[in-house]
């Protein structure tokens, strides 16, 4: 993000990162699936703030609209449709499987951490610097790339979405027999 002070940037980053971590932890530990879904929306919003900080304003808007808007609305709708607010609740009981799972995920985290700290900033620098993006407009730069260089992949993605819609309608309709 150009035009804001470095201290304010740090402030936004720390707050958004803490909110994202805290709300994702709340999402995993809540018993009621509706509460989980609402906490996940908070996580999506704070990740969208981080996208703005990373000069990806288009993705930030898409995050709020697609994830926090469309997908989570669908999830909440299904949770309410099948009445699982209070039935079949999670018991906070420590079983052997959960213990093993916890150990495995801690190992996974350590591995990812090792990757993070041994990462070296290899790779060529591209042409889309923050100044250029601000001058060009983020959505315009993304659109030029998406409809130009990646037009074929874009069409394939649209066919995937169409197949998803048809599949969902076909699965969820009432059977006659």
């Amino acid at each position: 993000m150009i035009g804001i002070g470095i201290g304010f940037k740090w402030f936004i980053f720390v707050v958004a990162a803490l909110v994202a971590t805290g709300s994702s932890l709340m999402m995993v530990t809540r018993k009621n699936p509706i509460h989980s879904a609402l906490w996940l929306i908070v996580t999506f919003f704070s990740v969208a703030i981080l996208y703005v900080l990373l000069n990806a304003t288009f993705i930030a808007v898409a995050q709020v609209m697609v994830y926090a808007g469309a997908i989570m609305m669908l999830v909440l709708f299904v949770i309410m449709l099948i009445h699982l607010e209070w039935g079949a609740q999670w018991k906070r009981k420590l079983s052997f499987a959960k213990l093993i799972g916890g150990v495995v995920t801690i190992m996974l985290f350590l591995q990812v951490l090792a990757g993070v700290f041994t990462y070296s900033d290899a790779g060529q620098k591209g042409v889309y610097s923050a100044q250029k993006l601000a001058q060009l407009g983020n959505a315009r730069a993304v659109g030029t790339l998406l409809y130009g260089k990646y037009a074929f992949a874009f069409e394939i993605a649209s066919i995937l979405l169409l197949v998803g819609i048809v599949g969902a309608v076909l699965l969820a309709r009432k059977r006659k027999d």
């Binding site: 999402m27 990740v47 996208y51 993705i59 994830y67 900033d121 993304v142 790339l145 998803g164 699965l171």
Partner: protein, 103 residues
């Protein structure tokens, strides 16, 4: 004077979110909560893509994230339709009760 926010911090946050999602997938037994945890893991990956793209002055990370979002949306539509079907059949979305493939 503070330095720029290093990209390692963003990667660290991404790793934390991914691990929280993985813990959720392993410990929770409600299919819809597991689905939401998978969405969280996808989001963590998106964050690291955007970080790399930003620090390498490239838009390819953004393009990747757009496609991941498209796939996640299609997955949400089909996956939730399957949950509704299973609920109709078994009356629950508890993953321990899914034994439809058992002969």
């Amino acid at each position: 004077m503070l330095p720029e926010i290093p990209q390692t911090l963003y990667y660290l946050l991404s790793a934390v979110l991914f691990t929280v999602g993985a813990v959720g997938v392993i410990t929770r037994r409600n299919a819809i909560v597991i689905f939401m945890c998978i969405e969280l893991m996808l989001n963590a990956v998106n964050l690291s893509f955007i970080t790399s793209g930003n620090f390498l002055n490239s838009l390819d990370g953004t393009i990747f994230v757009i496609f991941i979002m498209a796939v996640a949306a299609a997955e949400a539509a089909v996956g939730l339709a399957i949950f509704v079907l299973i609920f109709r059949l078994k009356g629950t979305v508890h993953v321990d009760d899914f034994n439809l493939l058992k002969g």
